[in-house]
Each structure stands twice: as C-alpha cells, then as structure tokens.
Amino acid sequence: MRVKDIITTGIYTVLYFILMSIGTLVAVLLTRNPNMKFAPAITALIAGTVYMLLVAKVQKFGALTLMAAVLGLFFLVSGHSMLAFIPSILCGVVADFVAKLGNYRQKIWNLVSYLVFSLGNLAPIIMMWSMKQAYIDQLLAKGKDMAYVHKVMINFDLGNVFILVGSVLICALVGGMLGQHLVAKHFKAAGMVV
C-alpha cells in the first residue's frame, strides 16, 4: 500500500463511519428502542456502495484490514470495550482474504467479503451480553435467587443471536448488491474504476 492508497482508505473510512452513525440513528428511530439491536443491519444495508467503491479503487491487500482497524480504534477510543475492537479487526482481516480470492475484481467474492465485514459491526453489541452478566452478578449479590433472575431477564437468549446475525447477513447481501449496482452505474460509466 502506498500513501495514496492509505489516504483513499482514510477518506472512505470516514464515509463509512458517517453512514454507520446514520444507520444507528435510523435503527433507533425505527424500532423506538435504544438498545441499537438492528443498527448493524441497517448500516450493512446502506454502506455497501462505499465498501464496493473502496475495493474497486484500491485493489490491494490491506485496505479492508486498515479500515476495520481504524473503525475498531474509533470504537475503542470512543469508549466501547476491547470486545468491540478485536472481533472488528478479525472480521476485517477475513474480509480482506476473501476479497483477495477473487483478486478484488470478482463480484461474488466481493459480496461475500462484505457479508463478513458487516458481521464485524455486531461487535459493540456483544457488550450488552457482558453487561447482562454484571447485572446478574449484582442481583445475586443483593440476595435474590436464580429463579428471580430468570424472571427479570427477558428475551436475552440464543434465538436473539440468530435474529441478529441473520438480519445482518440479509441486509448485507441486499446492500452489497445495491452498492455494486450503483458503482457499476455511476463510476464504471465515468471510467473512474476498472
């Protein structure tokens, strides 16, 4: 990666970050629930164009990893836990390898890599689970028994995890295809990407 590629990655990372904020906002407004459960899904739906354009413009190993690392750094520095940082980077590296399989040119591999990358956005939500454990500890410390805890803690189960992952995957698929369509329609026609 040369300086030009790094700066290009930086700019698209900011755009991705902005779209992520918009996605979170829309998710909170739509579900009228501040737990941001569907924020990664809506982000995946709208950020596909930025991702596909970055892949098409740089076409080198490292751009996606770098983007994930900086996004993770944003998460980390803005106070989300380490739990958000590590899975985010991991997803970025895997997404980079997947896209490299198709030499950053084959649509299908780019799409799969976008699916993987979007899963990384779920990481900040994992924090909710660690908070849940702390809450259970607190309740037990106050002398309540386990049955009481189960009565209080509603809808935090494995089914929810499937809903989360499934919604992200479906939205990423649609968003990625929309992104590829828009990139082909506007940028390939203008000759800005090959």
Binding site: V3, I7, I46, V50, G62, V70, L83, M131
Partner: protein, 225 residues
C-alpha cells in the same frame, strides 16, 4: 495551555475501565477510578461536564443500591448498572477524542503504532468538517434543480435521496483524496524521521496516575485470588 493527563495515560485509563466493564469489580473500585479520572477535568477546568457525569454516577449508584422491584421494571436496573459500568469508558474515551489530533498522533508515535493507522486517523479527523461542507453544497445544488426542497420529499423518495446525495459525495471524496495525497506528500508524510516542535512527555500527574492505576488493578487481583 492547561494540561491534564497525557494521551497515553488516558489510554491506560481506558484499558482499566474496559477491564472493570468486563469483570464488574464492585462499586468502590469503580468510584476510585472515576475520582482518579475526574482530576483530569479539574486540571482542564471543564467543571460543568464533570458535574453532568457525577450527577449521573451518583443517581445510578443510589438507584442500584436502593431496593428496586426489578420484576416491575425489567430494564431499569439493567440500564442503570450498565450505565454505571459503561459510562466510565465513555468518559475517558470522549476525553481522548477531544485532545488535539497532533498531540494524539505524536503521542502514539512514541508507542510505535503503525504509521498507516495514524495517517488514516489523521485524514479522518481532517476530512470530517469538509464532508459537512460538501453535503451542504450538494443539497443546495439539488434544491436549485427543484429536487428535495421540502422535508416530505425526503420521506417520499428515500432511495433517490440516498443515491443523489451519496454518489456526489463519493465523487467528491475521490477528488479530495487526490488533493490530500499531493498535499501530504509535499509535507513529507512518507518519511521515516518525524520531528515535533512540542515534546509531549510524562509529568508528575501521569506517574501518579500510572501508580494509582496499577494499585487499583493489584487490589482487584488480590481480592479475587
């Protein structure tokens, strides 16, 4: 310049706050951490912000300790306790984001963070205000053509709005990337030898903080072992 903790000290605070988020060390250790970091706000004289944090922490601590009926309010206690463990992280993190970009990058360079990550971070900070400017320009250009003049039009055609805003933004961004690259190369961004006019080094405050933080972690470890 009113200086509080060094950026690296703040990162250490962030790590300890994260550790406490994961392991839930109890209210006493949490409050010690909060008080330690409050010194930074006092040194920088941003009292009202500190006041807001303290108000929340006090209310949440009182509420968590009070005998709530959790089954009546299933989320209330959860969010209060969650806020109590998460908010120290946000307090430290937002304070890191408010430091000048130059200080942040120069301090991290001493820790040998990869230069590419630092460049991307710097570009991101530089690019954010420009983005807002170009968004306003695009919106004005659209209005000139009679599109999306009123708010209800956004809601009627969200997909069209999305495309007509995003594509010009992306085009703009690639142009700007070109310019930034040239400007940055002129300022020798790729060179190995970096110098800085201001030297950010540890002061007494930082040594005090590192000592107290290690004491905090040792106390926690001693308690669980």
């Amino acid at each position: 310049m009113r200086r509080g903790y060094d950026v690296r000290t703040k990162l250490m605070f962030l790590l300890v706050a994260n550790l406490f988020l994961l392991v839930n060390p109890g209210l006493i250790l949490l409050w010690t951490l909060i008080i330690l970091f409050s010194l930074d706000f006092i040194w920088q004289k941003t009292y009202w912000r500190l006041g807001l944090y303290w108000a929340f922490f006090t209310i949440a601590t009182l509420a968590v300790n009070a005998d709530l009926n959790e089954s009546k309010h299933p989320y209330l206690g959860f969010f209060l306790l969650g806020g109590l463990t998460v908010l120290p992280c946000f307090m430290v993190g937002l304070s890191i984001l408010r430091t000048p970009v130059h200080e942040f990058i120069q301090s991290l360079r001493k820790w040998h963070i990869p230069e590419s990550i630092l460049i991307v971070f710097g570009v991101a900070m530089r690019f954010l205000p420009t983005l807002k400017q170009s968004y306003c320009n695009i919106l004005d250009a659209l209005k000139l053509r009679g599109e999306f003049v009123y708010v209800y039009q956004y809601l009627l055609h969200p997909l069209g709005y999305f495309e007509k805003i995003l594509i010009p933004l992306l085009l703009n961004a690639s142009q700007l990337g070109q310019d930034l690259t040239i400007a940055a190369l002129t300022k020798a961004i790729g060179s190995k030898q970096k110098t800085s006019y201001i030297d950010y080094s540890f002061t007494f405050k930082d040594y005090f903080a590192w000592f107290s933080l290690s004491l905090l972690v040792v106390t926690y470890l001693a308690r669980i072992l």
